[in-house]
């Protein structure tokens, strides 16, 4: 106990300690650095971009060869350059959504979350930063992919009934809508990963929400279907980038709003769990 005399209780560490401080911008910078320091990020984003462009081009080529040969497949009948070129969105959303799940759930499965939350014990800034960083990256990749797919694909179908240019009414909105949709799906992935804290769980729920539930809805009575179906995340999202809308679908603006609500709901759940439960 002799070492515990009064003077020793004053911390004797150097008086000129640097004044570090956690700020929102710094947490963003940290999450940005974390995202790009993993090889899986580059691979998955590359896959997302590849799916978006490659499947769009394949669809456009199929359409062109079928119109050339004269007997057009039924499901191609109402195709436009936009719908053909954005055919890959369905696949790209999986890549970006899964990467979103990995951004958060991956921290839990690897234990990184302990280091992360020890550095930012207020916790919520971590979730917001991850959502912003990855949402913007997914938005950028999605928008880039949509434009590249359209610019290349519209060239392929330029001398067919589906031909369209960027200046055609609604095309620009559709392409930007597709980018925004993929950005929001990325954020939903981030939220689901944080909510479920498991990569497998997060991916399952994501796939179910985007791909399985729309199919299951067809089991409901028809009158219910018309009310519920347009508001599902995938269908609301589709309204954002579809060029033409049938009577039951939401308008692009309404679809964006509905998807934004789904995203906010998922984020709210994730925030609640992050703030309230032990890490």
């Amino acid at each position: 106990m002799s070492t515990l005399t009064a003077p020793a209780e004053q911390p004797r560490t150097t008086p000129s300690r640097p004044a570090y401080r956690v700020t929102g911008r710094r947490v963003l910078a940290s999450e940005w650095a974390k995202l790009w320091s993993l090889r899986s990020t580059w691979i998955t984003l590359g896959l997302g971009l590849l799916f978006l462009v490659a499947f769009g081009l394949i669809a456009a080529s199929r359409y062109r060869s079928e119109t050339g040969s004269g007997h057009l497949d039924e499901h191609f009948a109402a195709s436009t350059a936009v719908s053909l070129c954005l055919f890959g969105t369905n696949f790209a959303q999986l890549a970006l959504g899964v990467l979103g799940v990995l951004v958060t759930a991956g921290e839990y499965t690897t234990g990184t979350i302990r280091a992360t939350l020890a550095a930012v014990p207020r916790r919520l800034p971590v979730l917001w930063s991850k959502a912003v960083v990855f949402g913007l990256v997914a938005l950028a990749v999605g928008t880039l992919g949509a434009f590249v797919a359209f610019l290349l694909g519209s060239g392929i179908v330029s001398d067919t009934p589906a031909a369209m240019g960027l200046s055609h009414a609604g095309v620009l909105r559709s392409l930007l809508g597709a980018g925004l949709y993929l950005g929001l799906v990325g954020v939903i992935g981030v939220a689901l990963g944080a909510l479920l804290r498991s990569v497998a769980g997060g991916i399952s729920v994501l796939v179910a929400a985007l791909m399985l539930i729309p199919g299951l809805i067809s089991l409901l009575p028809a009158s219910w279907q018309d009310d519920i179906s347009p508001c599902l995340p995938s269908n609301a999202g589709e309204s954002m980038f579809e060029l033409t809308h049938d009577a039951t679908a939401l308008s692009p603006g309404a679809g964006g709003l509905v998807l934004a609500c789904w995203t906010a709901l998922a984020l709210a759940g994730a925030a609640y769990r992050l703030a309230r439960t032990d890490a």
């Binding site: 570090y20 956690v22 940290s30 320091s37 993993l38 234990g111 302990r114 550095a119």
Partner: protein
């Protein structure tokens, strides 16, 4: 400075930490000792806010950890060793942590050097051995140049050189006036580095003491004397604080409260012949096991416990 007040954590039926009160002071190494499952890790997780206490509170340098502007500058913690994404390099991991606080890149390089990770800093952490992972965890703990350093079982998985490095490091940090709080289930390891001990078992505080006091309370240092005339020796040795025991008819006595040297001198002074005079220290390990005997979570057979009693 870490202060816990009635700190309690329950998981459903099970109470992991049960009303702990303790203070960890700066300038010394404080050992946090207890058998497996005693609640050491849970307590440490509550100190840095990873787990919320069911009741009670714990503060670091006067405030709850989460209320500090620069938490990493207050407490550097090593909890479980592998808190790193296996796909990220040691350098990238530390840099991401540094960025949250605006800690400059040169400090990242510094702690990498300090932890002896220069050669492997750019390699993926997934390829790290347990020992290297531990060193990375310690580098992360020192990143913010914290006033309090808290390490959970830091020597686990380290080679002898690494163990020595940790000991020197901890003592150095304490000498700089920092608060150093280290958990272990190995008394022998603690005895080498810690000045102060907080002993827990089944979530409860068993002792808040110094290494020397712990030994004294657990039976102290006994001296075995074999003499020709036990009765006379008893008379000669009698005094305040001295306790002499021995069986009637036996030449052997157990003496506490006097050193072997003092006994020898007194016996010589009075011309009493001694056949044997040997000091028998209660080992720290025995003292610790006496203290925690009832609090051991997972009882093995007695032989198993004895075998574990002398760690490498």
């Amino acid at each position: 400075m870490i202060e816990a007040r009635r700190l309690t954590k329950r998981y459903g039926e099970k109470t992991a930490v049960d009303g702990l009160d303790f203070v960890v002071r700066p300038g010394t190494v404080t050992g946090f000792l207890g058998p497996n499952g005693a609640g050491k890790s849970t307590t440490m997780r509550m100190i840095v806010g990873l787990d919320a206490p069911t009741s009670g509170s714990v503060t670091v340098n006067g405030r709850p950890y989460a209320r500090h502007r620069a938490p990493l500058q207050e407490v550097g913690a090593l909890l479980e060793a592998k808190s790193v994404h296996p796909g990220r390099s040691a350098y990238q991991h530390l840099r991401a942590l540094a960025l949250t606080h605006g800690i400059p890149g040169r400090r990242v390089e510094e702690v990498i050097g300090l932890a002896g990770l220069d050669g492997v800093a750019k390699k993926r952490a997934g390829a790290f051995s347990l020992g290297m992972g531990q060193r990375l965890g310690i580098a992360a703990a020192l990143l913010g140049d914290p006033r309090t350093v808290m390490l959970d079982e830091p020597v686990n998985g380290l080679d002898p050189e690494g163990v020595l490095w940790i000991r020197t490091l901890l003592k150095g940090l304490a000498d700089e006036g920092r608060t150093v709080f280290v958990s272990s289930h190995l008394m022998s390891e603690m005895a080498l580095v810690a000045d102060h001990l907080i002993v827990v078992g089944r979530g409860r505080l068993l002792a808040d003491t110094t290494v020397a006091d712990l030994v004294r309370e657990a039976g102290g240092d006994t001296v075995k004397v074999v003499t020709q005339d036990p009765a006379r020796l008893r008379e000669v040795l009698a005094g305040p604080g001295v306790d002499v025991t021995g069986r009637i008819g036996s030449q052997e006595l157990q003496v506490t409260g006097l050193s072997a040297r003092e006994i020898g001198l007194k016996a010589a002074e009075h011309g009493i012949a001694l056949f044997e005079l040997s000091a028998r220290s209660v080992s720290l390990e025995e003292a610790f096991m006496d203290l925690t005997r009832d609090a051991v979570e997972y009882h093995g057979s007695t032989t198993a416990i004895d075998a574990l009693g002398r760690p490498a």
